[in-house]
């Protein structure tokens, strides 16, 4: 709960009737503040106080879920201004825009294939945003229907014409698409559509102030899952608005506690990605853009992954001896660290070399090769110890171990400490393929 004991005490009846099980209202308030009691233990607390206490207990940014079924995305529910203070939780939703005047079925089919694998992780483009460029309700509905037949990912329905939205929702409401957007002109109808269909709603004002006013009204009118679009289509203004929304939300200013979205406006495909990076780094909950080339989306999705990793603990793999493919006693042996990024990069390359191999993942507390080297955790001694501990000598009939090129200087120490022969591999793991061809075939 976000309130102190004293703040809670002020909202209690102050009669000290003891029915909650403790001696005084003050004691009960302290228990509540420490999450050691629940409010319903006091029968006399007023509705007004209840509402205030509930509001204080709610997350500062509302959690909003897009989509239904197996593929859903959560927005909002963030607690930090800087990722280093704790962590960012719900990754920015990437929505690719397609216009209802295009071949939506073909585009949706291509969109649905966008799945990228890197370092043991899978990245998806999350949402298809169908734009009612035709201005025609029937065309919009048909386009949405066509898209639904081709992809199970999240849908964003973009039309400011409430009748077109109503038509599209006849077919799409069960998918819980994001309705985009309620504006000053269509406000009542869009809010009514969102609340009656139970779909999330984007609210777009002429500027931040108007957006927040509209969101407050929409929420009161029953549309509970809201996304804020400040209306800005200029990069630095959008960055400012996104930042204000996050700051105000964390300070619990009324009307700001919702996830956000930004629309990319640059013309060039590459410029769009760069613009999206600026929004992603500045709290955007959803980013809509047109660029859909794999070569451009992979970097953007990689940045998202990096930005949302937990800064407190590096992702590590279990240290030890790993087998890649059908190993035999003749198989080559590589060594690397147990930083998951490093390990998966190396594993991927070893796998691609098509030669079954062992990888000795040394326990460096999940840090990279050079960091581990500098910290004294990836050295001749630690690698030699790992060779012993894992029983490697019983598994292979040779004593050759490949080390990363970046730590060539440890060769001598490792040979002395282990009695193994060291082969200095390439600096980047991407050179392993060539290295295998030159040394093992």
């Amino acid at each position: 709960m976000g309130l102190t004991g004293l703040q809670i005490f002020k909202l209690l009846p102050k009669t000290n009737c003891k029915e909650c099980g403790v001696a005084t209202c003050m004691a009960f308030a302290m228990a509540l503040a420490n999450a050691k009691a629940s409010l319903d233990q006091c029968p006399y607390v007023s509705d007004e106080a209840k509402e205030q206490l509930d509001a204080a207990a709610a997350p500062p940014i509302k959690k909003v879920t897009l989509g239904a079924g197996d593929f859903t995305r959560t927005m909002g529910d963030e607690t930090e201004l800087f990722r280093h203070d704790k962590k960012f939780f719900n990754e920015t939703v990437i929505a690719i825009m397609v216009e209802d005047t295009e071949d939506v079925a073909a585009k949706a089919e291509a969109f649905d294939k966008k799945v990228y694998e890197r370092v043991g992780l899978t990245f998806y483009t999350d949402a298809l945003a169908i734009v009612n460029a035709s201005g025609d309700a029937g065309k919009f509905k048909a386009a949405v229907e066509a898209a639904m037949g081709k992809t199970d990912r999240v849908l964003v329905l973009c039309s400011e014409d409430a009748d077109a939205m109503a038509a599209a929702l006849e077919v799409a409401a069960d998918r819980k698409p994001l309705i985009c957007s309620a504006t000053a002109d269509n406000f009542d109808k869009m809010v009514e559509l969102a609340s009656s269909k139970g779909c999330p709603l984007a609210v777009k004002g002429a500027n931040l102030e108007e957006t927040v006013e509209m969101a407050t009204k929409a929420f009161a009118a029953g549309a509970k899952e809201l996304v804020l679009d400040s209306g800005s289509r200029q990069v630095s203004q959008t960055v400012a608005d996104l930042t204000q929304i996050r700051r105000q939300a964390l300070k619990r200013t009324k009307g700001f506690g919702f996830p956000t979205m930004a629309v990319v406006t640059a013309e060039g495909d590459m410029d769009q990605i760069v613009e999206a990076v600026s929004y992603m780094s500045n709290y955007a909950g959803l980013i809509a853009l047109k660029a859909d080339d794999d070569a451009l989306l992979l970097p953007l999705l990689s940045w998202r992954q990096n930005l949302y990793t937990d800064p407190q603990k590096p992702i590590a793999v279990e240290p030890g001896l790993k087998e890649v493919g059908e190993v035999t006693p003749d198989s080559p042996v590589y060594t690397t660290t147990n930083f998951s990024l490093t390990y998966y990069i190396v594993e991927g390359e070893v796998e691609a070399s098509k030669m079954p191999s062992y990888i000795l993942a040394v326990d460096t507390d999940g840090i990279s090769v050079l960091t581990g080297f500098a910290a004294g955790k990836f050295t001749g001694e630690t690698i030699a110890a790992a060779i012993k501990e894992t029983g490697l000598e019983d598994k292979v009939n040779h004593k050759n171990i490949v080390i990363p090129g970046g730590v060539a200087v440890i060769s001598g120490k490792l040979e002395d400490a282990s009695g193994w022969k060291v082969l200095v591999g390439p600096r980047e793991a991407s050179g392993i393929h060539k290295f295998v061809r030159e040394n093992f075939k």
């Binding site: 800087f82 990722r83 280093h84 799945v115 990228y116 694998e117 890197r118 370092v119 931040l208 102030e209 927040v212 006013e213 407050t216 200029q234 990069v235 630095s236 203004q237 960055v239 400012a240 930042t243 204000q244 700051r247 105000q248 300070k251 200013t253 009307g255 640059a266 590459m270 410029d271 990605i273 760069v274 613009e275 990076v277 600026s278 992603m280 780094s281 500045n282 080339d293 794999d294 070569a295 451009l296 989306l297 992979l298 970097p299 953007l300 990689s302 940045w303 992954q305 990096n306 930005l307 990793t309 800064p311 990024l341 990069i345 691609a352 990279s368 500098a374 980047e428 793991a429 991407s430």
Partner: protein, 324 residues
């Protein structure tokens, strides 16, 4: 409903540094750049003054780089072995606002060029372009300490940015820069305390600490970038909230890091779902740059001409003053 913008109240600002010197300032540059001076977090114009925009430099080597991706051949292939012509192309055709001359050839493992050779290269590049220069050593301490004094002397009056000084090796560089009035890069291994400490140590040699550009060490997108990103955010926030020992502009070798990544180099034949290689490489570099720019990078050292165009547009868009 009245909406009052939330602004942090800062007590300090980032040091402002001018690099390069024109004829009337004692040098031969035709343009100078000024970075730093921020009184707000990156591009939050509503919060305080952001007097200077980040600038873009292109990397030039004193030897032909053998490991650069083949896609660079079409831009630099004809000038790889002529640093002066290479630099000229970077400025005149590709829009570099600074040149970052890397004296890789001085490395004992890459040709072991003498201090005199390095000076000759510096003079040739100074003669070929009018923009300010960043000059980096080869990274091997002993050798760098042999070339820094010669480079500093030969560049006298030009107000170069020399680098890099590290915790274990900053004294020769600092003394050389002090003697000939250059600015320096202080590099720390993604460690905010070392960054701070190094600035203090350099200051103890009577070097004006407002003439330091910090290199907090960056990594490429997908290769640990988030560590540098967060260190930069912390350093900048610390600087604005009063820590003078970190209140310096920052530089990052974005091109160098990004083009080591597999994702920048792997062919589409090998990774059919990753899209075309050159576009992917450019985006790997541009995404690395754009994300670090949002954390406060002041000098972005790049490689690909197309990335220069993308990053400059991004910076221009972010510099449009937005207020409430």
């Amino acid at each position: 409903m009245a909406f009052t913008p939330l602004k942090e109240k800062y007590r300090n600002k980032v040091a402002q540094i001018t690099l390069g010197a024109t004829a009337d300032q004692g040098g031969t540059r035709t343009s100078t750049v000024t970075i730093g001076g921020e009184q707000a977090l990156p591009f939050l114009h509503f919060e305080g003054e952001i007097p200077n925009k980040p600038v873009v430099a292109l990397e030039v080597w004193d030897i032909a780089p053998t490991e650069w991706n083949a896609c660079f051949e079409q831009y630099y292939g004809d000038v790889y072995s002529d640093p002066a012509a290479w630099a000229k192309k970077c400025v005149e055709e590709y829009g570099a606002e600074m040149i970052c001359l890397r004296l890789k050839g001085a490395d004992p493992d890459f040709g072991d060029k003498s201090p005199e050779d390095c000076v000759a290269t510096l003079k040739a590049v100074l003669g070929a372009v009018g923009v300010p220069l960043i000059v980096l050593g080869c990274g091997k301490y002993e050798k760098d300490n042999a070339i820094f004094p010669a480079i500093a002397e030969a560049g006298e009056g030009e107000n170069l940015l020399l680098g890099v000084g590290e915790q274990e090796n900053y004294k020769t560089l600092t003394a050389a820069a002090l003697g000939y009035k250059h600015a320096i890069i202080a590099q720390s291994p993604i460690d905010i305390n070392i960054a701070k400490q190094l600035n203090i140590l350099i200051g103890e040699m009577n070097f004006d600490t407002s003439r330091i550009v910090m290199d907090p060490t960056i990594a490429a997108l997908g290769y640990g970038i988030e560590y540098g990103y967060s260190i930069m955010q912390r350093a900048r926030f610390g600087a604005l909230t009063g820590d003078k020992a970190m209140a310096n502009p920052m530089i990052g070798n974005v091109g160098f890091e990004a083009w080591r990544a597999k994702e920048a180099n792997a062919s589409q034949d090998d990774f059919p779902t990753w899209g075309e290689q050159e576009a992917r490489g450019i985006m790997w570099e541009a995404t690395t740059a754009a994300s670090l720019i949002t954390a406060g990078l002041g000098i972005v050292v790049l490689r690909h001409p197309k990335t220069v165009e993308l990053v400059k547009k991004n910076i221009d868009d972010l510099m449009v003053p937005a207020t409430y």
